[in-house]
């Protein structure tokens, strides 16, 4: 047990007891970083290190969140702790927004500044004769033919899937608050399912890009921004779907109360966040 701080006779704040999870997480991150460096440079025991790192991190997350869930279900978290969680999740999502902002910034820079600049008079005369600026562009040094990814096939379907999942998770939340556990479980399941279908579609779309459109990560700045933006988004959807599955499992175990279910809300916020990022992607990467 950790230690309680009380105010006005009720538990106000909870100081968790010392646990080794943080240091285990650091070791895991360290192994992952070293492993990745080895793999990228084709030297040393890259894959063993990377997989060891991933396993360590997964173990750490499993145990750490296990403790947090036990503490939460053990009613150790007061209203004030709950509010701390809310603040921190909001700030965390803000930091994620800024991470995507860097990549959106790169996209806008390429579209508005660098590609047009490369086709201006000076560049045409001295560096890249005949290069004309038109988005999508893989740049003047890229000679292969490629086709851009259209917006109205799978991407439009994906938009529909993600937006629907935003609706289903809201229904699930409402069901949780009015204690309709059956409805909660089924709509949570539906949300996870929609997320999973989204990911499958994304994989099919990437396959289509690589095999039919000749659109690769190395296809100039269009390929770079396309795959990095959608890739990081897909990675976040994957994380979100895993988080949703954990929440679904907890719902099935009977966790959460109508007035005490921050983990559910945090994951819902995160899910809406990936949803909003997707809308940005759909508009600026696929459509316009």
């Amino acid at each position: 047990m950790g230690q309680h701080v009380t105010a006005q006779g009720t538990p106000d704040y909870y100081i968790p007891q010392p646990k080794p999870w943080p240091i285990i997480g650091s070791v895991g991150l360290f192994c992952m970083a070293l492993g990745a460096v080895c793999i990228f440079n084709e030297t040393g025991p890259g894959w063993p290190l990377l997989s060891a790192g991933v396993m360590i991190i997964l173990y750490m997350l499993f145990r750490w969140f296990g403790d947090v869930i036990a503490e939460s279900e053990g009613n150790l978290y007061s209203k004030r702790v709950d509010l701390s969680f809310r603040w921190s999740m909001s700030w965390f999502i803000f930091s994620e927004v800024m991470f995507f902002a860097a990549f959106f910034g790169a996209l806008f820079w390429a579209r508005v500044i660098s590609v047009p600049d490369l086709s201006n008079l000076t560049h045409n005369e001295y560096m890249w004769p005949g290069f004309t600026a038109a988005w999508p562009s893989a740049g003047p040094g890229f000679t292969e033919k490629f086709s851009p990814m259209g917006a109205w096939g799978l991407p439009a379907l994906n938009t529909f899937l993600l937006l629907s999942s935003g609706v289903t998770i809201t229904v699930a939340h409402w069901a949780l608050k009015v204690e309709k556990r059956g409805l909660l479980n089924s709509f949570m399941f539906l949300t996870v399912l929609l997320g999973a279908i989204f990911l499958v579609c994304q994989v099919i779309e990437y396959g289509h890009g690589y095999s039919d459109l000749n659109l690769k990560l190395s296809t100039g700045v269009y390929g770079s921004t396309f795959y990095m933006l959608t890739g990081f988004h897909g990675f976040h959807v994957t994380l979100g779907a895993i988080m949703l599955s954990v929440i679904l499992a907890r719902c099935l175990k009977g966790h959460f109360k109508p007035d005490h279910h921050f983990a559910f809300e945090a994951v819902a916020w995160y899910w809406h966040f990936v949803d909003v990022v997707w809308l940005g992607l759909f508009i600026f990467v696929y459509w316009l």
Binding site: R80, S84, W87, S88, A101, A106, S114, F142
Partner: protein, 531 residues
């Protein structure tokens, strides 16, 4: 709830920690903000020594023209790692250490909002630091790209570059977690009656710094991630042939980099705003305007980044915008300087070591601010860009600004932390040696810079020899003076005099008025009520 705290005894007898680990495991697993704060401070000091040793190598090589001690590649690695280690390993962790130690006891909280995550924020750092240091032992050595890691040079580096990139990722994770923790603590953990506008200014500056970190560190993560994929996965973010642009890197980097300099200096402002009133025996002049000035600086810091890039090339309209926005920052900064001066005006001043360092800060930081104003002018900067004038400028704000403040803070709170006093005479020696050698090192760099000596180059024409010799001698003296600091701290820890309950009679924030000296391991288990 009326918690009456006896400042000379524990408010509670706590049923202590049935299975709290001891020995090394205590430090590895601790969730106590004071333990974690101490670890941050010690880590920062170790990194300060490592980065300082690199500075000594740089100055030794520059002692005379020609190549004497190290080859140019190693020299480049030295300048790069000196910068990265000092910024991310020494200065930032030092102020996070202060935040950990002080914020809970200044707002009347029992601990940080997320005590276990707090532990992780710290324990990522040694691993990230190891990645940085390991890069020296890789084929090709540590990257020699400068701490700014500009593309396309980063695309040509060896394995060391990848280690550095991942180190930056880890440092960023640590900073983001730490800042979320600090911001949440300040927003949600204040004692009853401790309204935002009653908080000590140190908490205010950290609240705003936390916001800056959360907003800017992910952008740096994005920049180094693009560097990584450009290096290994054939992307073209910074490759013009693929439609990308190396200038894009600079924009993304400095969108992080400029808030970063305020991340470093704002907590220092907070520390100074605690120390000057304490030794003037007057409340801080213009508290509210200090808060607003800090917030203005933070907001402006996001729209000035391209003043680091005047010579990179941008439209004149862009230069004008960034120039005006940059000079605008002088206004809130000047408000702060004048407020500190007005705090001292007709105060009952005394000059113990913390106050000396605070005054050293005030004097030298103002000079660094003025040379910053000079550099903010696009037309002037084109002449001075990447010369030693810039090196002099940012060392005035980083060393005399942030580092002196960290010293001031350590001397000021040392009695509260440990219950012991440092040796005042030796402390004064540390200050005067630092002050004199700092100026010998860096003041002359203004002249060599104005004369055109470029930074980050191991060799130089004969005409710069005198200034460089003086600068190198000063730097060796400055480096040795910091060993004195270590000695003072160790001596005080071992055999320092017992500190009185209130060592500084003018100090009036919660940690002085409501807690015994030294602060107990657990404090404010029952929140105090602030009137």
């Amino acid at each position: 709830m009326s918690a009456v705290l006896d400042p000379h005894g524990h408010a509670h007898d706590h049923d202590d920690h049935h299975h709290t680990p001891t020995g090394l495991m205590r430090w590895i697993t601790t969730t106590n903000h004071k333990d974690i704060g101490s670890m941050y401070l010690w880590f920062s000091f170790v990194m300060f020594m490592v980065g300082g040793a690199m500075a000594m190598v740089i100055r030794a090589e520059l002692f005379q023209p020609g190549l004497q001690l190290v080859n140019p590649d190693f020299f480049n690695s030295m300048t790069t790692m000196h910068g990265l280690i000092m910024v991310f390993g020494a200065i930032m962790p030092a102020f996070v250490g202060f935040a950990n130690w002080l914020i809970p006891i200044q707002i009347g909280a029992a601990d940080m909002a997320f005590a276990r995550m707090n532990n992780w924020s710290f324990w990522i750092l040694p691993f990230a630091g190891s990645l940085l240091i390991m890069s020296f032992f890789m084929p090709g050595g540590a990257p020699g790209v400068g701490w700014t890691m500009y593309a396309p040079l980063t695309s040509q580096m060896g394995i060391g570059m990848d280690l550095t990139i991942f180190a930056v990722h880890l440092l960023g994770m640590s900073s983001i977690m730490g800042s979320i923790n600090i911001v949440t603590t300040i927003l949600n953990m204040r004692a009853p009656g401790m309204t935002l506008m009653k908080m000590p200014l140190f908490c205010w500056t950290w609240l705003i710094t936390g916001y800056l970190l959360i907003a800017s560190m992910p952008v740096l993560a994005g920049a180094v991630t693009m560097t990584l994929t450009d290096r290994h996965f054939g992307t073209s973010f910074f490759n013009a042939a693929g439609g990308g642009d190396p200038v894009l890197y600079q924009h993304i980097f400095w969108f992080f980099g400029h808030p970063e300099v305020y991340i470093i200096i704002l907590p220092a402002f907070g520390v100074i705003s605690q120390i000057i009133p304490a030794f003037s025996r007057k409340p801080l002049f213009g508290y509210a305007s200090m808060v607003y000035a800090t917030a203005s600086i933070a907001i402006l810091s996001f729209i000035v980044w391209a003043h680091h890039m005047y010579t990179t090339g941008m439209p004149v309209a862009g230069q004008l915008f960034f120039m005006f926005a940059t000079t605008l920052i002088a206004v809130p900064t000047a408000a702060k300087i004048f407020n500190w001066l007005a705090t001292m005006w007709r105060g009952s001043l005394s000059f113990e070591t913390p106050m000396l360092f605070a005054l050293g800060f005030l004097f030298l930081f103002t000079m660094g601010g003025f040379s910053g104003l000079v550099l903010s002018l696009a037309a002037v900067d084109i002449q001075l860009h990447d010369t030693y004038y810039v090196v002099a400028h940012f060392h005035y704000v980083m060393v005399a600004g942030a580092l002196f403040t960290a010293f001031a803070g350590v001397y000021f709170w040392f009695p509260k932390w440990t219950g012991r006093m440092y040796d005042e005479t030796l402390g004064k020696w540390h200050f005067w040696l630092s002050m004199i050698f700092f100026n010998i090192t860096f003041f002359v760099q203004h002249f060599s810079g104005l004369a055109g000596m470029p930074r980050r180059i191991p060799d130089y024409p004969l005409m710069f020899e005198t200034w460089n010799k003086i600068s190198s001698i000063g730097s060796f003296g400055f480096g040795l003076s910091q060993l004195l600091f270590l000695y003072i701290i160790l001596k005080a820890l071992r055999s320092g005099e017992k500190a009185p309950a209130l060592p500084w009679e003018g100090a009036d924030s919660l940690e002085w008025t409501h807690l015994p000296t030294p602060a107990p391991y657990h404090s404010f288990e029952t929140p105090p009520v602030i009137k």
